[in-house]
């Protein structure tokens, strides 16, 4: 049987719900009433769903082996997709990490530029234009217009403390 992310996803849901139930058991009766009343039936349903997904996977494996000529591999497009998903995931994670480290202002300009230049392989002009546009929007609408207090970034705060003492 070839386990795919579909089965793993269902399994993770079941495991998370299991952890939820175990954690809820530790609370006093009043505090755990609603969490347990909801999570126990949902947990049972998730186990059913996981078993169903695994059953489908077993059936599909059997069908694939019958249909696929010997030596032919179907994993290449999946591997390509997985690599693409991994790359996109890293870009998504990096924007949130960048918000924390460098703050919103630096991230808005740098991330937009890097994403367009390095990820999408666009020219200097459109990359620079879009990133400057985003920065102007952030300044004009959020900072000057709405007076939103945006997070300056952990590294910026550390640097500021080292340089100016506050």
């Amino acid at each position: 049987m070839r386990i795919t992310f579909r089965q793993i996803f269902s399994l993770i849901v079941s495991v998370l719900l299991g952890i939820y139930i175990v954690t809820a058991m530790g609370y006093n009766p009043q505090a755990r009433l609603m969490p347990l009343a909801v999570s126990i039936p949902i947990f049972l349903l998730s186990i059913w769903q996981t078993l169903h997904d695994f059953r489908v996977a077993v059936r599909r494996t059997g069908m694939d082996q019958e249909e696929r000529p010997a030596g032919e591999s179907t994993s290449t497009p999946q591997e390509k997709l997985f690599k693409k998903e991994l790359s996109v995931s890293l870009w998504v994670i990096s924007v949130f990490v960048s918000f924390y480290l460098f703050g919103f202002i630096l991230t808005t300009s740098l991330y937009t530029f890097l994403s367009l230049k390095a990820r999408s392989r666009m020219g200097w002009k459109p990359s620079l234009g879009v990133s400057i546009g985003c920065l102007v929007f952030l300044y004009v609408v959020m900072i000057y217009g709405l007076r939103v207090d945006l997070y300056p970034g952990r590294l910026i705060l550390i640097a500021r403390k080292a340089l100016y003492g506050y």
Binding site: L17, Y20, V95, F99, L146, Y151
Partner: protein
């Protein structure tokens, strides 16, 4: 009463009130478009400016900004799968699929016009309800709130998509997320893992941004291309078609606006639920209910009309008792005190014209707000044709700012990122995402009111007349859904 209504109308059109209202409408639209920075934000920001204003001008500015914010919120919801405001969440279930089908203009036209009509109807209901406000509000107590939440939860089965089991798990998951934070009766920390940030629970905005906007951008980036490769040939006139759709479905519009208004009137249910109730109701009652979620215009009209109609309803308990019907009204209550006005019977007797003036402002602001948005809708719809490479970083940054601005907490960024991956997985493996939001919104309301009902009325709380009616509604919803699923060929349990 007619005299007070006319005086209220005259005050709205008098200078400087009309100028303040127009300024408010502009601010409301801009703020509404920005994810995470919703109508509540604009109210909170504008309140300090009202100290030296007369009451008519102050409420013209505040309500002018608040009323069209959900109208503006529909724009990013439909075009980028990024709800401008939490109540816009239900609009994305069909609004964004319409954009993907190349019908962005039609979806925008329908959303904006139904918002305007919903808002006007909401204001009219407010005017009609003024004489019967008191008995209406007093009919509802914790048992009724609990059963109202149950009606909403029953809609999880309705909008679960093809797999009922996956829908129930996802909806239950949302309910469990809603229970994170301090227990409402014992104040015990639940599922906070020692994190201070989680004491307040998980907010709807970062979850919605992650589940829908981040997940969608991930998919666009993985698959390449834009949100849609095509724009329906007639989409230049698509906005007009959407407006026509709104008036073709006049009964749906009427029913959903009444539903939104009633939910707005009941303090404690929360305005965010109105859109889900309306969407679930439309899915059950419309002939093409099975197609909901694939991009049908009724799925846009129903929630948008309910969202804007609920604000008129929320004003009812605010002016009648000083009990805010929504979070926005709670902020507005502050403005009443700034103006030296005490909401309640005294206001109904001495300042009735002001209530009318507020109702007229809500109606007018909705019309002007929608008209401004409609004027630019065709151009805005072209955003959907932009290459995904441009949208990817811009939408991610917008999501980050929106998530952070919700509570000025870095934790909300983490929530958005986590739910981005969860949403991508759910979409890829065909788990319904909208039901998570319904669960999240209703989880806390259901728990709090169940515990209060048990304390106040013991186990007989469900024998109250309105509670019995609501139980019957829940049963009808569930039976109809299950029978419908059995009839459907493609619908399976798993």
């Amino acid at each position: 009463m007619v005299e007070a209504a006319l005086l209220g109308l005259a005050k709205v059109f008098a200078w400087p009130a009309i100028g303040y209202m127009l300024l408010g409408v502009f601010i409301g639209i801009v703020v509404g478009i920005l994810p995470g920075v919703g109508g509540l934000f604009s109210l909170a920001v504008l309140i300090p400016f009202t100290f030296k204003m007369d009451p008519a001008s102050a409420f013209a500015l505040l309500l002018g900004a608040h009323a069209p914010s959900y109208t503006g919120g529909a724009i990013t919801t439909i075009l980028l799968n990024t709800p401008g405001d939490p109540p816009n969440a239900a609009t994305l279930f069909d609004g964004y699929p319409m954009t993907k089908k190349g019908e962005a203009g039609r979806a925008l036209g329908a959303a904006l016009s139904s918002s305007a009509v919903g808002g006007v109807l909401g204001a009219l209901y407010l005017i009609m309800l003024i004489p019967v406000m008191r008995p209406l509000v007093l009919l509802f107590a914790p048992p009724e709130f609990f059963m109202m939440a149950m009606v909403g939860i029953a809609f999880i089965a309705v909008i679960s998509g093809k797999s009922l089991v996956k829908g129930l798990i996802a909806g239950g998951f949302g309910l469990l997320l809603g229970l994170v934070g301090l227990d409402p009766t014992t104040s015990i920390q639940r599922f906070t893992f020692g994190t201070l940030f989680l004491w307040d629970g998980i907010h709807l905005v970062p979850v919605t941004l992650g589940l829908f906007a981040v997940a969608e951008m991930m998919e666009v980036a993985v698959q390449g291309g834009g949100i849609t490769e095509k724009m329906v040939a007639s989409d230049v006139g698509g906005v007009l078609r959407g407006i026509k759709d709104t008036f073709t479905h006049k009964w749906l519009l009427f029913r959903c606006s009444v539903l939104g208004n009633i939910i707005g009137i009941i303090p404690g249910i929360g305005g965010d639920t109105a859109c889900f109730f309306a969407y679930g109701h439309a899915r059950q009652t419309e002939k093409n209910g099975d197609l909901f979620g694939t991009g049908v215009v009724e799925g846009v009209i129903a929630p948008q009309s309910a969202i804007n109609a609920k604000e008129g309803g929320a004003l009812v308990p605010t002016v009648a008792f000083g009990i805010p019907g929504s979070a926005g009204m709670a902020i507005l209550l502050g403005a009443f005190y700034i103006q030296g006005i005490r909401p309640g019977p005294e206001m109904l007797n001495n300042s009735l014209w002001l209530i009318f003036s507020m109702a007229w402002t809500v109606a007018l602001a909705n019309i002007i707000g929608a008209a401004v948005c409609i004027a630019f809708a065709n151009r805005m719809a072209r955003v959907a044709l932009l290459p995904g490479d441009y949208l990817f970083p811009v939408v991610l940054i917008l999501c980050g700012i929106g998530a952070y601005c919700t509570r000025n907490a870095l934790g909300d960024l983490v929530v958005t990122a986590i739910f981005g991956f969860v949403g991508y997985g759910m979409k890829k493996y065909e788990w319904p995402r909208p039901v998570v939001l319904i669960g999240l919104v209703l989880g806390k309301i259901a728990e709090k009111n169940l515990l209060l009902s048990l304390r106040l009325y013991h186990s007989t709380f469900f024998l109250r007349p309105i509670t019995i009616v609501l139980i019957l509604i829940v049963l009808v919803i569930l039976v109809r859904t299950l029978l419908g699923r059995r009839r459907e060929k493609g619908g399976s349990m798993v």
